[in-house]
Amino acid sequence: MSANNSPQNDRAADPRLEQLAASDESLLHVHDRASAGAPDVGARYQLLPLALLFIFSGLIFYGGTYLNRYSGHFSAEVFDERKLPGGEVQVVQIDPITLGKRQYALACVTCHMPNGQGLPTVYPSLVDSEWVTGSEERLIRIVMHGLKGPVTVKGETFNAAAMPAFGQVPGSGYNWSDERIAAVLTYIRQEWGNDATPIETATVAAVRAEIPARAEWSEAELLAIP
């Protein structure tokens, strides 16, 4: 860092002033000539270009391989470079009981109560009810289109039942899919000690296909159905 005596300097270099040797013009011109490349005398290949070409090819090969191996096919969904997109799409099976419980908590619970007992004289109980554990066809229709008028449950008569329509039918305030209706029905048929068969989505869909639109059912109409 101190004063240097470099061989080509005729006087001791002064660090306070950096002396330049070459002019800018010659710098430009000489290097411009150099960049044209040395003439290839006698078709003799020079070692340096070959070595550089070799190294560059090696780097390209390495980079390409690495990219191919760990790019996850450039998918936006792959966050682990070892994964590949789409390989393991999982169809998540929703447990109907869990879904049904949610649906019940969303709507049914306001009248039929969390314990399914309903409210004496106003809202019928679902526990051990012949309507719930009995005919699937009737049960589906009640939830799909609603129920109006007097109804007798477990020997008790409710004079003004007003069950709204829940299915995807005209006049429904809920528009629950068939899957949801099946889930909630399966839930109430198997909760609180009830022990009836689950209801399939297909059965619900068949009912809706058969009767796409109608007013609320009455007890008599329902009892006419097996």
Binding site: E77, D80, K83, L84, G87, L99, R102, L106
Partner: protein, 212 residues
């Protein structure tokens, strides 16, 4: 390189490559990323930030918290993030969909905060606990006294005041910013299991087979 036009064209082309690849490419891939609607929960994930949390994020950003805290959980076999209990799964793009400014961070002097809200819930940490921690600091973390006011109790004490910190006759009241900041920290949850966040299960063979 003697011809300016060709030279600039070259510069333009080469840089446009990276611009198109990284800026436009990711924009095309992630620009229309949608939240995932969960049929079961009847909600779309990630959840939207509450207004308080959004303001809290602003405070987090203004104070430069990002200098010490990251907000990204890495996969189980890449770092000890999950072993440290910072999260249960890898963070994915969708987690940050509703954040006005995702603060991924690049220095981990303090713990990762991507999932802080869920952790605080599990440890039953209350907002008041968090505020006291914020006020006191620790050996590694500076105190943030300027987010609080110590004032003399005149008449009715403030309902927001923190207990057991201020001297007799005084109360320690967190400012609006402190409350927002804590609301933000408690809102940080990456608990919903997105399909793309599943850890990689396959062995070496699977990856090799796929790459061909």
């Amino acid at each position: 390189m003697k011809n300016s036009a060709v030279f600039f064209l070259g510069l333009f082309a080469v840089f446009a490559l990276s611009w198109a690849g990284i800026v436009l490419g990711t924009q095309a891939q992630l620009g229309d990323l949608a939240p995932h609607f969960d049929e079961m929960e009847e909600k779309a994930f990630p959840l939207r930030q509450s207004g308080l949390a959004t303001r809290g994020q602003q405070v987090f950003q203004d104070l430069g918290c990002i200098a010490c805290h990251t907000q990204q959980v890495r996969r189980p076999d890449f770092g000890s993030d999950q072993a440290r209990g910072w999260g249960d799964r890898q963070s994915v793009s969708r987690d940050y969909l509703y954040q006005a400014r995702p603060l991924l961070g690049n220095q981990r002097s303090g713990p990762d905060l991507a999932n802080y809200g869920a952790r605080a819930e599990a440890r039953e940490l209350t907002e008041a606990d968090m505020l006291v921690e914020l006020y006191n600091g620790s050996d590694e973390r500076p105190p943030h006294r300027f987010l609080f006011e110590v004032r003399e109790i005149l008449g009715e004490p403030s309902p927001k005041a923190l207990h057991g910190v201020a001297p007799e006759g005084y109360e320690l009241v967190p400012t609006e910013r402190a409350l927002n900041l804590v609301a933000y920290l408690f809102s940080l949850k990456q608990t919903y299991d997105f399909a793309e966040a599943q850890p990689y299960e396959g062995g070496e063979d699977a990856a090799e087979g796929g790459a061909q």
